[in-house]
Subunit: 226 residues, 2 copies
Amino acid sequence: MDKYYEVLLKSQPFLGFSLEELRSVLEYLNANPVSYPKGSTVFNQGEKITHSGILLEGSVIAESVSYSGERRIIQTLHAGDLFGDVLMYSEHDPTPVSTIVREDSKVLLLDVNELMEKACNPLCRKALVNILHGLADKFWTLNRKIAYLSCNQMRSKIAMFLLDMQKRHNSQTFIAEYSREELASLLGVNRSALSRELSRMQKDGLISFYKSSFKIENLQKLRNCL
Amino acid sequence: MDKYYEVLLKSQPFLGFSLEELRSVLEYLNANPVSYPKGSTVFNQGEKITHSGILLEGSVIAESVSYSGERRIIQTLHAGDLFGDVLMYSEHDPTPVSTIVREDSKVLLLDVNELMEKACNPLCRKALVNILHGLADKFWTLNRKIAYLSCNQMRSKIAMFLLDMQKRHNSQTFIAEYSREELASLLGVNRSALSRELSRMQKDGLISFYKSSFKIENLQKLRNCL
DNA sequence: GAAACTATGTTGCTATAGCAACGTAAATTC
DNA sequence: GAATTTACGTTGCTATAGCAACATAGTTTC
């Protein structure tokens, strides 16, 4: 267990915990790592979820199977990532997502209902609050994505994204943490069409860029794209 | 206060509460209705949110002002609706949303942090769990919306929506709770273009419809649209 | 350092969906 | 019940963005 403390301290539920607090709450919850061999599943589409998981080591992906039987990868999880937190609470539908183990992995299973039952314990409350924050953050991420997708001009999508980045980095020069392909996916557009529009915006003096480094050349004009 | 019990029992935080439980928890939390005159705001864009609100009577809308200064209505709230629940938890950013009072309104303010502090009380826990469920539901609503928006063929969007409805109603015949305008907005398309594509799908024998009543005529073909 | 691969930029073609404008039926108002 | 409004369907025009195919530069592999 000890070898995973570092990962856990960086995971959403235990942000801000001291090592002592972490030890204490894990003992109190009687939480232990579970091994999943490559190819197994942690959650299955259609199941009812009773636990959330924190990936301690290995590799897990979340995917869903569409009506037409096509598989779509929703998320690739990394060590420290919390998954299943949203699933746990939407009891109504069974989960539309499966999590599939890509390499032998260790997962810490958290029963969030138990956490709630034990909320008299301040550490459990602290973890709960952290989980709530995480949920809210995921919510806003989705909201931004919807905002991007809702623009029906590509230039608007790009402008919105760039202005978000400017706000986050508090600078008109920044490096976006996305490849072109990923950015295209985030904005819901074709990659080559994205490249074309970026070039146009550069030609129009709105921005300049090289790979993932962007500079906003004319903030006012960029805002007018919205 | 008594006159609002009915509304509160139908609000997300107090679902499944008995009248006695509701009375008890409200007293315990010392929660009272607050009056907001027409034109005032409950939350202001840029503020830090410390409470969530349950609209007891009146009319409130949530809106945000974009970079370009344009106002966009995000949501129209009705009696019993919980708002600000997501906002409360994303401490990082101040809220990007304002809630504006359209008619003289009464709002019950809930300090969810207080609810968490008092989680030793089973009723407070119950309310917290309800709020979590509500959050998760909102999350899934957004997720579906993203799924719709992500299709780049209008027919795919429509098919996905109709298949969702079929699943929910458990029937190939159903009445969608959206007007054309609203449906167009949900799918992120132009209303008239939506009408056109619906007509085409009818001509192609996929569906039939009259206003908001839909019938899936060929399930397999519809699935193939995805 | 040659070869293979990957990420990104460029361009022509074309289908699609936005937009505007109009028609019609139903609902609401007085 | 006439008048107004609202909701929905229809259609032509056109800009836009998807797609495919290719170019190029940078990176990795051996």
